[in-house]
């Protein structure tokens, strides 16, 4: 056999082994860091603290911006859920981003909204606003009806209308814990240097709400596809992000649950409408701003709150899952390429020196490396090159190590106060951590490869296929429909 080919193959195999060991090793360390950060967080909560924040007239008021595009299935329930948050002062701004369904009409009917001419300062340009409505039943609720411009544009429009100093951006399919605002505003209250914050997001697919849209049960999803994502959220969005946050390297505040000081939001130019998705780019922009405007002794920070405050629907079908992951992959890659000057640049601290290389090597191009690993597995099998040992090592470093990280994430969760009580649920989560590497992970990899292709070759920006499901309510089980008073549409539409 050609010795050159063998040499190349050996080098590739060695590099792939190193890649997997380093990637999973870093994830493992991040999960551990996240675990200790969470312990520190719970240790730091003082007696009466949340009560004080919830009652103080001096707690900073918050503007909650909900961008909605074709959200008729969930929007009314989401707004009802948000309106009953326990917090002294907040406003809710729903931005209808040119929906083609009944989103606006449902809001107008349910919350008895009337048009009004709100004066505002246009900090950032957006697509034209068609109308603004204010609720006659909830004076702190307004709806901004604008032409379609994607989520970033809707968030910018909402921020333009926001009256308060902290903007909370949530997705239209999100449900919040009643104390979510208290948890999330706490870092802003105690640390003047906190300019933005995000928190733990959990899949909403298994949760139950009561007739007033308050969360009453927080079960993991029943179906396997959302359950795999639940484990993934635990591993990546909870532990790893918390670990990254403690290293000042968290590059993605999820758009489903982002809190940012209004002045900073506008200082970075608002959400980038040209980005595939605005959240990753916004986080990177805030990091850039922090490092380019740092003052001695007062470094601005992005906080991560390890209390589960937000539940967001995850895809339940492969088609929707493919679209979502393809979209996320494009977002990460695009933002990293746009901001490549920050990579390995000491001016940007840990964000530049660690987060950028880490995200690029182990997030943006990991799908390509994985595909290469599979390709090599096929080649060594076909060419019969020491096949058993290479395949075994590939399996150990690629699959077993990944499984180890997932299972550790589930086990660590079992040691916290957010643990699952039922043994059956713990078994399912552990199984999901193991089984995700056989099918789910490969499908995920191909969706990300398609995302890379779509961005670099097709220049695709649009989200793609998306689906929404109605939340499970206690009434569903009791067989009664909690139709709101005087609401002509009944529960089926909402």
């Amino acid at each position: 056999m050609n010795t050159d080919l063998m040499t190349v193959l050996n080098i590739l195999i060695t590099l792939i082994f190193i890649y997997f060991v380093v990637m999973h090793g870093i994830y493992f360390l991040l999960i551990l860091l996240g675990f200790f950060a969470q312990k520190r967080y719970h240790h730091g909560i003082q007696f009466r603290e949340f009560k004080r924040i919830s009652q103080s007239p001096l707690s900073p008021p918050v503007s909650i911006v909900i961008a909605a595009y074709n959200e008729e299935k969930v929007i009314v329930n989401t707004v009802r859920n948000v309106l009953q948050l326990r917090y002294p002062q907040f406003e809710v701004i729903v931005v209808n981003d040119g929906s083609e369904d009944n989103t606006v009409q449902l809001l107008i009917d349910y919350f008895k909204m009337q048009p009004f001419d709100k004066v505002y300062k246009k900090h950032v340009e957006t697509k034209p606003v068609r109308a603004v409505y204010q609720s006659t039943t909830h004076p702190n609720l307004i709806v901004v009806d604008k032409e379609n411009g994607r989520r970033a544009d809707a968030n910018n429009a909402g921020a333009n209308y926001a009256r308060y100093p902290i903007i909370a951006q949530i997705d239209a399919d999100c449900l919040l814990e009643p104390d979510a605002l208290i948890y999330m505003i706490r870092p802003f209250i105690y640390n003047r240097n906190v300019v933005a914050a995000t928190g733990i997001i959990r899949p909403a697919n298994g949760i139950e709400v009561d007739s007033s849209c308050k969360i009453v049960k927080r079960n993991p999803p029943d179906k396997w596809l959302p359950l795999f994502q639940y484990v993934e959220y635990l591993r990546s969005f909870q532990w790893a992000r918390l670990g990254l946050s403690s290293l000042n390297s968290m590059l993605c505040m999820s758009g489903a649950f982002t809190f940012v000081r209004k002045e900073i939001f506008f200082a970075v130019g608002g959400a980038n409408v040209n980005a595939v998705v605005d959240d990753f780019e916004l986080t990177v922009s805030v990091h850039r701003y922090i490092h380019e405007h740092k003052k001695k002794g007062a470094m601005m920070e992005i906080a991560f709150v390890p209390d589960p405050g937000c539940y967001s629907q995850v895809p339940e079908t492969l088609k929707a899952f493919w679209s979502q992951r393809n979209f996320w992959q494009r977002a990460i890659l695009q933002s990293l390429l746009w901001n490549r000057d920050m990579a390995c640049n000491p001016r940007y601290g840990m964000a530049g020196m660690f987060a950028f290389p880490f995200f690029f090597i182990f997030e943006a191009i990991s799908a390509v490396v994985e595909l290469l690993a599979y390709f090599i597995a096929v080649v060594v099998t076909v060419l019969r090159i020491d096949t058993p040992s290479v395949l075994m090592l590939l399996f150990i470093f690629g699959v077993l190590l990944g499984t180890l990280v997932s299972i550790c994430a589930v086990l660590l969760q079992a040691t916290t106060r957010m643990r699952q009580e039922k043994t059956g649920t713990i078994i399912r989560l552990l199984l999901a951590g193991f089984l995700e590497h056989f099918g789910y992970h490969q499908f995920h990899m191909f969706s990300r490869l398609a995302g890379i292709f779509d961005l670099l070759v097709r220049g695709k920006l649009a989200y793609g296929y998306r689906e929404r499901t109605v939340y499970k309510t206690q009434a569903d089980q009791e067989g009664t429909a909690p139709a709101p008073e005087d609401f002509p549409y009944g529960r089926d539409l909402v």
């Binding site: 060695t14 082994f17 060991v21 240790h43 730091g44 003082q46 007696f47 009466r48 009560k51 004080r52 103080s56 007239p57 001096l58 707690s59 900073p60 009337q114 048009p115 009004f116 001419d117 709100k118 004066v119 300062k121 204010q134 006659t136 004076p139 209250i189 105690y190 003047r192 007062a298 040992s389 075994m392 090592l393 150990i396 470093f397 077993l400 190590l401 499984t403 180890l404 299972i407 550790c408 589930v410 086990l411 079992a414 009580e421 043994t423 713990i426 078994i427 552990l430």
Partner: protein, 361 residues
């Protein structure tokens, strides 16, 4: 390759350990849940005993034989119940820690506050002391804790001193915790609010103290405003023209919060301040005072270059009742477009005007 095989072997062993651990977690989960349920039951029983003591059904000596591992639980529950049932309950619950069997708990906590190397423990003790010991015992150590090197410990000590209305702590708090560059001003003001009217005299004295720091004065002024104390008005008015912008802003807000019409002329005059934040605060406060004499000044504010001054002026005009609303409607023909817009918005926000009414922009 040898190295990789070694790593792989180590990983397989680690994987085996993790799988064993998973099996152990699964097998022992029912037992762990039972233990948790049992702990919950114990907690409920102890809570019931404490409530029984409050009702006079359980004698205080029942707590003297509390197991050492339950001492922290007892402190936590006592604090929680004291918060739920108010000041008289707190006073009564303290006696739980005065029996021979529980007195050492207080001594331990006091020792911890001064000696512990962990700031978390010092903070925890500073937080719980008001629920386990009488004022004479805890005020001196808490005052000393205001000088702790850790800001969070100082903050907890200040809250505890506020909880027991220790007015002698006001000036030390103003001196030690009024650190606007390091600590949000609102959090310190909340401490004085917690002291209620007991803090007023000392805060007023502090304002007249020649050596008072401007930053500390801001805290005192804001706290007085939030106490709604009319007797603070002259002292605050005396600072309304202070050279420090922040002091002027907080004076204007405080005068509105107090709500005394005595402040109206000075506030109207300050509507011409050079700083927009001061003008905005005056406009807001004039709306709270609801004094008709403020109408021309608020009308003038509608055309202010700063949005918040325009908005607060319009909102305050609406607060003045029919005359204010009439003035806002008349402002539809104002020669300033921004004044017209803001007048219309405020009337619509209050459902006085519908969207299709009003004038063109």
């Amino acid at each position: 390759m040898t190295l990789f095989f070694l790593i792989a072997k180590a990983l397989v062993i680690l994987f085996g350990i993790v799988v064993t651990l998973s099996v152990w977690v699964v097998l022992f989960n029912p037992r762990a849940m039972r233990r948790e349920a049992s702990a919950k039951k114990g907690r409920t029983a102890l809570r019931e005993s404490i409530l029984g003591y409050l009702r006079g059904e359980v004698h205080v000596s029942a707590f003297s034989s509390i197991a050492p591992e339950k001492e922290d639980l007892l402190i936590g529950l006592v604090a929680q119940i004291a918060e739920e049932y108010g000041e008289s309950a707190r006073q009564k619950l303290i006696y739980i820690f005065e029996t021979t069997g529980t007195h050492h708990i207080v001594q331990n906590e006091l020792r911890q506050l001064s000696e512990s190397k962990s700031w978390h423990k010092r903070q925890r003790t500073a937080t719980y002391l008001p629920y386990i010991a009488i004022n004479n015992v805890i005020v001196p150590p808490l005052l000393r804790a205001l000088e702790d090197k850790e800001l969070m410990v100082r903050f907890s000590a200040a809250h505890s001193l506020a909880k027991i209305r220790a007015t002698e702590a006001i000036v030390p708090i103003l001196e030690k915790i009024a650190l606007p560059a390091r600590w949000p001003i609102e959090r310190t003001i909340e401490i004085f609010i917690e002291m209620n009217s007991d803090a007023v005299d000392t805060l007023l004295e502090y304002l007249s103290f020649p050596g008072a720091k401007p930053d500390s004065k801001i805290y005192a002024i804001s706290a007085l405003g939030l106490q709604h104390t009319p007797k603070a008005v002259p002292a605050i008015l005396a600072h309304l023209n202070h050279s420090n912008k922040e002091i002027r802003i907080h004076c204007a807000r405080a005068l509105g919060n107090i709500g005394s019409s005595e402040a109206c002329p000075a506030l109207c005059e300050t509507m011409h301040d050079s700083e927009w934040e001061v003008r905005a605060a005056c406009a807001r406060s004039l709306g709270i005072l609801k004094v008709k004499n403020a109408l021309p000044f608020l009308l003038e504010g509608l055309g202010d270059p700063a949005w918040w001054v325009r908005y607060n002026s319009a909102d305050s005009l609406a607060e003045l009742g029919d005359e204010g609303v009439k003035a806002l409607k008349e402002a539809f023909s104002h020669n300033d477009k921004f004044a017209r817009n803001i007048s219309r918005q405020v009337l619509q926000e209050r459902n006085i005007l519908k969207s299709d009414q009003g004038v063109s922009q």
